[in-house]
Symmetry: C2
Subunit: 507 residues, 2 copies
């Protein structure tokens, strides 16, 4: 009796601690959302204090003796499967957190907040030296953090694991090599095609924001997103964030590229669907969260690329879009234009083929930074050299080069690879859904996304984090992270667009 009682008490403690931690994380998410959308400039310093303090509280909770002791005890108990899994996952988190001093957590949070604003300024003025000193500090602190954890010999893995549990640089390297080779090969074929040589790139055109936002909101509805659960705002670097299991915030902005804002909205709405369709009963425990950043990204990429850049989608959507903007072109031209391949300098404006090359570049650089082989002060030089090597040219300035992304300034090392992971996963999911829903193109063509949304929820969202991301994909698609499927998808799609079969025959 006494034992059962202790068991119940310990379980209760574990549940209530988790809830507190998640509520604090939600609060932190709101502080972050506000910081990047509406916060007045001069509040940067006080926001840094607020972020650091809440981060510190979370760390205090997760490393507390009480939680640790309860978990250690519960690990020895016979629990039903789901609870045992929860305890195991949480125990792993707690052990990792307990290796990191609270001061370090707070220091990183504080400096990341300040660096975010330095990045904005540095980018505005296209001057890396504005960001350099604070970035140097961040790299130093992240290395320090990785050294505290040291569950892998590779320092970088300790950071990567926060975003992509179970993934390592060693696993990624050959996958990225294969991917790089495949992408370069496809690019070469495209570049040799008549279509590519004759391709007229649509002039970069900034389309008014309001109609794009209106269209995004309309689309959200048909994707199954309710305005009662999410909102769209504008920001410098679009993101989405979960404030609670019923409240997801999407952001977008308007930049070069004909439908950039709409496209980034579709992307973020994919994220939102994932967050809102997680198992509600586990909203406040570790099993009810997104399985990994890469899997999160697979959801956004799926909607952005496989749906939002696909032929059936635009057959459905082109008239709506055209009626807002009167683009003066026919559908075929439009479809070719939005899928036009060309080496761009900016990752988030990149076509589907170049995109992952951008990621591989960043992965190689950040790996070097954390391993101490690349110095912060050399970043612009290293960046430009790698761009030359992979893309064949040098960025005009830092804004177009090393300063284009926010991630490093906010300390997110190990994040970039998840974009490529997600992109590959998305292609794998697309491959599977086409088998499960044979006439998926027909649904899309009619603007009917409900079967797609439901499939994704059933196969991915509702599983929460009961499995690792790679196992969720393996379960659904038959294999884990598999660049071949993505390359096949690209080859098929772009062979059509650039009429590559013709070349093969003629050669």
């Amino acid at each position: 009796m006494q034992i059962d009682n202790d068991l119940a008490k310990n379980l209760e403690l574990v549940y209530s601690y988790q809830k507190e931690i998640f509520v604090l994380q939600q609060t932190l998410a709101l502080l972050g959302w506000d910081e990047r959308t509406y916060m007045p400039k001069k509040a940067a310093e006080s926001r840094a204090e607020q972020n650091a303090f809440i981060e510190g509280l979370i760390h205090e909770k997760i490393t507390s003796e009480k939680l640790y002791t309860a978990l250690e005890t519960l690990k020895k108990e016979r629990l039903e499967n789901k609870e045992a899994l929860m305890i195991e996952k949480l125990h792993k988190e707690v052990l990792r957190a307990r290796k990191i001093p609270k001061e370090l957590v707070e220091e990183i949070a504080k400096i990341a907040s300040i660096a975010y604003n330095s990045w904005i300024k540095a980018k505005e003025e296209s001057n890396f030296s504005i960001l350099a000193p604070v970035l140097e500090k961040i790299v130093e602190l992240k290395i320090k953090k990785a050294k505290c954890i040291i569950s892998s010999n590779c320092l970088y893995d300790n950071l990567l694991d926060y975003y992509e549990e179970g993934m390592t640089a060693e696993k990624l390297r050959p996958i990225f090599e294969k991917l790089k080779a495949g992408l370069k090969e496809l690019l070469k074929r495209i570049e040799n095609s008549e279509n590519y040589k004759n391709q007229k790139i649509m002039p970069d055109k900034i389309l008014e924001a309001r109609p794009q936002l209106e269209l995004a909101r309309e689309l959200a509805k048909s994707m199954g997103l309710s305005e009662d659960n999410f909102r769209i705002d504008t920001t410098e670097h679009p993101f989405s964030t979960k404030i609670s299991s019923e409240d997801v915030r999407i952001t977008t902005n308007v930049r070069k590229g004909v439908f950039n804002s709409l496209s980034s909205s579709i992307h973020e709405m994919g994220h939102a669907l994932y967050s809102l369709n997680l198992p509600k009963e586990d909203a406040y425990n570790i099993l009810g969260q997104e399985a990994s950043t890469g899997l999160h990204e697979s959801q956004s990429r799926f909607w952005e690329n496989m749906i939002g850049l696909g032929r059936p989608f635009w057959e459905y959507f082109f008239p709506k879009f055209n009626s807002k903007y009167n683009l003066q072109g026919n559908f075929e031209e439009w479809y070719q234009d939005i899928n036009a391949v060309f080496p761009g300098k900016i990752r988030i404006e990149s076509d589907e083929i170049h995109y992952c090359l951008h990621i591989i570049l960043r992965f190689e650089i950040e790996l070097g930074l954390i391993e101490g082989k690349i110095k912060v002060k050399d970043l612009p030089k290293v960046w430009n050299e790698k761009m030359k090597e992979i893309f064949g040219y040098t960025p005009k300035n830092d804004r177009e080069g090393v300063l284009q992304d926010v991630h490093w300034s906010t300390g997110e090392f190990g994040y970039f690879p998840t974009y490529a992971i997600g992109t590959i996963y998305a292609a794998q999911l697309y491959d599977s859904i086409k088998r499960d829903i044979p006439n998926i193109g027909g649904d899309i063509f009619q603007g009917n996304f409900s079967r797609i949304s439901e499939w994704l929820t059933k196969k991915v969202h509702i599983r929460g984090s009961k499995l690792l991301a790679d196992d969720i994909i393996k379960n659904t698609c038959g294999s884990g992270l598999n660049p071949e499927v993505f390359l096949e998808y690209l080859n098929k799609k772009y062979s059509e667009i650039y009429d590559l079969e013709k070349i093969k025959t003629s050669n």
Copy 2:
């Protein structure tokens, strides 16, 4: 040496606890701001959890043994004046907080969050019964809270003291009686005037929001508010909130009344100036905060009424306003119109004379609620009877009656009187500033508000809460809360507008 060391340690603890408490309060302020501006509807429940949890944390901090022990020890030490004062004030807060169970604090926070949304719905549908059950619960909990504190025999005082330290129902009653009598007398004189009898009320007109927001932003600059420190958003019930000493959020909305949105912006900008001009060095301790809600309100009322409804202001501002809206009237008509006196049903749309009558009505009712003499279920009836008694008519429905204000639904009992207190203080400050800056009208006429802002900062803002609000007013104006000065101000202004002297002579 040891003693000095302990002293330093205790002081350090007190400072760091205060900082943590203020940072948590700032976080809570952001949760609240978001809840009333941008939060998706279905997030209400999770927001309630978040609010309750942070409230609980604040309570935990402020009631902690460590802080209590440090304060008890420090109270016996010889400290320099300012520190001694800080310890004394904080000790008082801590003692009060320690009387209230954490569960009660969390329960109130949670239900207030839920009730806010019930209020929105009840008001939309003009149906008090939607709010009634949850409001009953709130009143019950607030009475429970007041009973925990019991530092005054009058239960209500224990709640009032949170907003207006040192103020009591007993002190307020005769002041409000005098005020009520004076207002009614002035109203009678106005109602007997030829001008009143001939007065054509401008039709209620909803002027587009955007130009009003633009004008408000322009005005903010000349009042000394920087866009780097504040922002304006829209909401149901306008408010302003301090997210940090460098970050104040103003809200407004557009409703009936020709310049309602602008007027409410001016009001909230008065609040913002106060919050942003508090002593920065005390931002994270109890001496650097606003002295009371009433004094806060004096700042908004000063700008809204004494400046924003005054003749010199509109002599300066009418052309600007007119150029946005083309109102097709001359300045004299406009000035008379915006100051037209008539018994309105809605407090926040009320003229300067009726306004405090609205407050007195609410004060009498909430006093009755907390003393148990009025039941929640009878509120619509009681409200309508009092309206009939004081204003001479009955509201058409609950939306126009008991549901018009948010305060009770969020548990803010003891808040309403501070509107009248602030209004009176504002008149006292106006009376004093005219002596210190003889040609104040000339400044306003030129749209130059810098001397006024500076004076308010020097006399009020920068003092923080080192003195009680009433003592700050006494120091600056020669007497504490004094309705006579306000009545004099009204008599003078409205005698002119309604040509009351003429009546006197002719009678």
